[in-house]
């Protein structure tokens, strides 16, 4: 079996750029593991609605939901211990603030702060950081043999790796705090501290954005003071968790040159971060062209259909060249291709089929 380590892992992180079918692959891996008797949860960020429905997820919720027995029975599968959860980023952030704030009052102050409200939904890296946070929490609770996590769609897969660092360094706000020092030092009046560069900067900023913004921002960092350590330690713990040999990163890609190059680069970067690479999955691959070089088409209709087949052959050949590049870089047992399906993957039965195409056995050829 290819990608064997993935099913034996305790944590599987599915990564890849947007639109390549990460959510489907995450769900298929989770289903396969649960069918093999492992108690599993899949945490998704932004699933297609019908797939979400098939997993029994109707809305964002920060609590795991068991996939009902009937869904398994309808797919002709034995009921298994498989939970699913759709991550609510904002709530996770609030929960984190409540956990690390020195007092309930401080937590409330932060959550009500305008600066916090502006950043907690929009700060880049928040989704990624919160996904990692949830992963850590689930892992510590120890209710599952396997946690499969689907990562948020990012411009490129690397954003995901750097996100927690970017976010904690923003929250640490060294640079910002230096500039804001006079404002944070508050009490004695804004501009009394003799930090000349910072004071002149603040004057400009105040002129442009108004004093309210400065005091909101300063209040936020003042309240956040002391919490940052908790955040940082937590981020570090998550990072260590991801580095454990029982974790597998699965990179999902489309069979195009661009996407394959990006996936290869990501796989390399994982190694340089010392994060365990579990395998690479190429999704929606057209089958190998197998048309004879010479075909006699007698009718207009036959010519038209042959024209279609020839064009598909061209596209398939182009995909083939991208995959050859992959072949030369990745060990054969560490990558698989999923053929382009004629149907959309919207229920457990179709997910099981995808799982079989990934992990071997009776996967059907779609065409």
């Amino acid at each position: 079996m290819k990608l064997a380590k993935v099913l034996a892992s305790e944590i599987v992180v599915c990564a890849g750029s947007g639109g390549v079918g990460k959510t489907t692959v995450s769900a298929a891996i989770a289903l396969e593991a649960s069918l093999r008797g492992r108690s599993t949860i899949v945490v998704t960020i932004d699933p297609a609605r019908r797939l979400a429905n098939s997993l029994g997820l109707e809305q964002l919720s920060n609590t795991p939901k068991r996939i009902p027995k009937e869904k398994f029975e309808a797919a002709g599968l034995p009921p298994c211990s498989l939970d699913a959860m759709m991550l609510d980023t904002k709530t996770t952030f609030d929960e984190l603030v409540i956990r690390y704030a020195r007092s309930e009052q401080k937590a409330r102050k932060i959550i009500n702060n305008r600066f916090y409200q502006a950043i907690s939904g929009a700060l880049s890296g928040t989704h990624e950081y919160m996904a990692m946070e949830k992963l850590y929490e689930l892992s510590m609770e120890g209710n599952y043999d396997l946690i499969v996590i689907d990562t948020p769609p990012t411009r490129n897969a690397l954003d995901f790796l750097d996100a927690p660092k970017r976010m904690t360094s923003f929250l640490e706000g060294k640079l910002l705090k230096w500039f804001l020092l006079p404002a944070i030092g508050g009490g004695k009046g804004l501009f009394k501290i003799a930090n000349f560069a910072a004071v002149s900067f603040l004057k400009v900023v105040q002129k442009i954005v108004g004093a309210q913004v400065l005091s909101d921002t300063a209040e936020f960092f003042a309240n956040f003071e002391g919490m940052y350590e908790g955040f940082k330690q937590r981020a570090q713990a998550v990072y260590e968790l991801l580095r454990k040999p029982t974790t597998s990163f699965v990179v999902v890609t489309a069979p195009t040159n661009e996407s394959v190059e990006e996936a290869l680069f990501f796989a390399k970067t994982l190694r340089s971060y010392e994060l365990p690479f579990g395998g690479l999955i190429v999704n929606r691959v057209l089958p190998d062209p197998d048309l004879p070089a010479k075909v006699a088409a007698k009718t207009e209709a036959a010519k038209a259909v042959l024209g279609l087949a020839r064009r598909f052959e061209q596209i398939a050949l182009k995909e083939r060249r991208s995959l050859e590049r992959l072949e030369s870089e990745v060990e054969p047992e560490l990558w698989v291709q999923i053929p382009y399906q004629t149907e959309e993957v919207v229920d457990l039965k179709a997910l099981k089929n995808i799982a079989e195409l990934i992990f071997g056995s009776a996967g059907k050829r779609p065409l």
């Binding site: 609605r49 640079l175 910002l176 062209p289 075909v295 036959a302 279609l308």
Partner: protein, 325 residues
Amino acid sequence: MFGYHARVSLAAILDRRLSIISGKGGVGKTTLAAVLGLVLSQEGRRTLVAEVEGKDTLASMFGAPPLTTQPAELADSLWGMKITPEEALEEYFDVQLHMKRIAKPLISSQLVDYVTHSAPGLRDILMLGKVWYAAVKRRDFDHIVLDTAAAGHAVSMLRSPEGFLHAVPIGPLATHTKQVLGWLQDPSEVGIHLASMPEEMPVNETIETTRMLEEKLGMNVSHVFMNMIFPPISDDPKVEAEVDAISSPLALASQGFGKKASEETFRILNFYRKRRSLQQEHRKQLSDELASTADIIDLPFIMSDVFGLDELRQLAEIAREQLTR
């Protein structure tokens, strides 16, 4: 109310100063930006395609070197450039605040880099501000096509000025932001075009985005461009009907194909038919839900292993034909 919708013609787009292209990653946003840019430039408009985050795809479609922050000619009457938050901020300090001296040290202090990378909303505002300035004040071009970020979302980008005003209610920055926001909401000046494709996720996303823009911002989507629609197998309806009648490999064998060729070709035909009918379901869902709200333009899947200027021109012609219908 009654499904009535005043069609937005090409003439209306030509009268605008800005076309914003949005949509999820992987649905062909950059292709659409290039196609719309070609359509407008072919109508004699000096058109600039501005890319928020360059993956160099746009330039390579035109066979041009990677874009920079200076406009470069891509075709007749068509230019392309990259816009970055740093450069947008520098320009803002210079031309709006008349504080050029402050801009340089501020940008080199890395503070800007740090803040704009942390808060995508701020990046959006800076870039929208720059586009406003270029389109309304400088007017070096008749029309700007803005290709937005892949990870971004039309709603969050267009709401960024609003969110910003919540956090920064007063001061010159707030005044300027209000000005830009007012302009963005004027459909005679700015059009929003969504790129989509006939699959479940992109279609749902398009429907949701259209509704949210209407509900949260009171903005209408001008056009939805459906990319990668599988076209009929033959342009001739009579031949297409004969193709439809092919129901087994045997039918192909009787029309001259050998055994292997007929099996293989039928397999591909079958795949194409099934995916095409799935596409049509999603396409229908989009019309059912949006027909009274936005115009839908269909762009075919170009079955070719290369994609360059010829293919873009082909799509531009198809788009132009539907926009003037």
